[in-house]
Assembly symmetry: C2
Homo-oligomer: 377 residues x 2
Amino acid sequence: MAVMLKKKMKTFLIAKSRRLRGTPYTSRIEKQGVTAYTIYNHMLLPAAFGSVEDAYHHLKEHVQIWDVAAERQVEISGKDSAKLVQLMTCRDLSKSKDGRCYYCPIIDDNAGLINDPVVLRLNENRWWVSLADSDVILFAKGLAIGNKFDVKISEPDVDIMAVQGPKSFKLMEKVFGEKIVNLKFFGFDYFEFGGDKHLIAKSGWSKQGGYEIYMEHNESGLKLYDHLFKIGKEFNIRPGGPNLIERIESGLLSHGNDMDNGDNPYECGFDKYVNIDSDVDFLGKEKLKKIKAEGIKKKLMGVKIDAKEISVNGSMDLVDEDNNVIGELRSGCYNPSFKQVIGIAMINKPHFETSKSFKININGSDFDGKVCDLPFI
Amino acid sequence: MAVMLKKKMKTFLIAKSRRLRGTPYTSRIEKQGVTAYTIYNHMLLPAAFGSVEDAYHHLKEHVQIWDVAAERQVEISGKDSAKLVQLMTCRDLSKSKDGRCYYCPIIDDNAGLINDPVVLRLNENRWWVSLADSDVILFAKGLAIGNKFDVKISEPDVDIMAVQGPKSFKLMEKVFGEKIVNLKFFGFDYFEFGGDKHLIAKSGWSKQGGYEIYMEHNESGLKLYDHLFKIGKEFNIRPGGPNLIERIESGLLSHGNDMDNGDNPYECGFDKYVNIDSDVDFLGKEKLKKIKAEGIKKKLMGVKIDAKEISVNGSMDLVDEDNNVIGELRSGCYNPSFKQVIGIAMINKPHFETSKSFKININGSDFDGKVCDLPFI
């Protein structure tokens, strides 16, 4: 049975500054009722507009516009750009195509994860690395300088606006026509609005379907933002942001939360993006071969906990009946569909078989939980 | 005359997660009344315990303990460690000594600032780079891999606790004896408490004097934290954090706020840390020679604004009487000693002479201001 916590979770304000900068859409979402931010790539990323649970139900049924400008791009161009991008990821990009997005774990020479971006191939000599939260631009610059690569590396003025939810297709069709509905998943193309061409990908950080608009033109971007809200009324449009409940339920991993530099791609279930048998050169390749041969010692798994509330601010130990640590919870929240807390945990060998039971201490009380497979649904 | 703003500034909550992780001291400061955080190197850094103005007055008179664990260390060790550290900074470290701290701008090959850490030379083959807010570890790894340097690079478990304010000397003497009072500014040494040795530097991110304790031992660190509060009652001890009012008044620059990768060290007044005439090799050296020969086109200066309130969340334009932009405000706050807003701005050539007048729009109203030298006092 799920048990309520006695103490109310404390809340804290965010101290804003230029170092945690806003986006072109910040003034709009603040008028629209954003209540909480997280920080992502030194920028404000909306985390809540009131209830996260309400937003979860809405996202699964309607359409939301998200200010995800914090998903910054590293642009790598020039003669050696393909070589540098390939050096940073264990995914074989030798057969990659223009106009496609690729989910690419970025690792260091010890096979530790540095980021898990989506890489956009604009063309053979120009790439965007669309980042999770870490300064990959510094890694790219260091590698380029040290290897004397002929590349140009920059953070372009690109601010992503995401359109997410099952009604996003109808909404976007109203603006951009049928062509945008026929875009393949993880494909991108250029679409006109307000006199400018915009790169739009069929992608986004939810499993509810939708698009990411890589906005390079502030003025027409803001016009499009307002236009979407105007014509989106019939689809019950709302502002939003990546939703903790939905992303955990859908098994979408978050770099820095679920995995970090202490973890390798095999431990995170990225096996299909680890191409150690390819001919391409990338950092950590020999180390990955060794890890594969020896087998992993920990693995990301789902967990279900008989609790009604949790706030995960750091790793939380999961222990067995003898109080031995069997793993650590890295993300988690109450899920109204499961009517319990579900989360993502790094489970130690040999405990990563399904259905292992554990206990977890939340705010001074013990709760029961079970390990399960990912994704949850 | 200073004018009050009509609208109240909106406030927003911070959405906590493992990605914005806490420190060993977080649970203590939350009991002690922290009200706002900023995020720094992916960690929680306390920004306020209630009124920042009260904390400012207190800091200038008494002593505060700051949880500044977010000032992360990059440890660089091994045969080529000195070479790598030198490659990253324009400051000549060839005559550096063990047991000393060095303020070192880190720049890329285009002389753009990446960070402005304090570098601690533990010994010739082991260095700590004590960071401002950016992932310098990724830059160091990239450079080391590309250059095939024989180094080991890691983020050690070091959590800094700062003791700041004029009474910090008396307080620390009570714990560590006279030796700690005689430590030179920016010198460090090892001191015993709770059975462990702790690296303590006479340093800190205020101009009120004090120490930074580089805590490697959690258990004795927490004991010391509690002990300092117990014996510090006679000095009116309080928890705190870097204080926006004090740091601006003292002219302490903040990377990401006052300067970033678009600025070079000369533009930030770091001339004495730019050793282009030295024999050492560092990134951006040729570019810096060119910048010096041509002269800078913008410069960090102080500004005073006839306003009672401001919230700087991004660059804010400063314009002259003809509405031409003369520079941008990057940090600022109301200062109760000056009885007006003071701030740090990047002023364009030829306007960086002292006493240039400007106007700035704050929340829809225009305010008058003047450029001045740094520091303010």
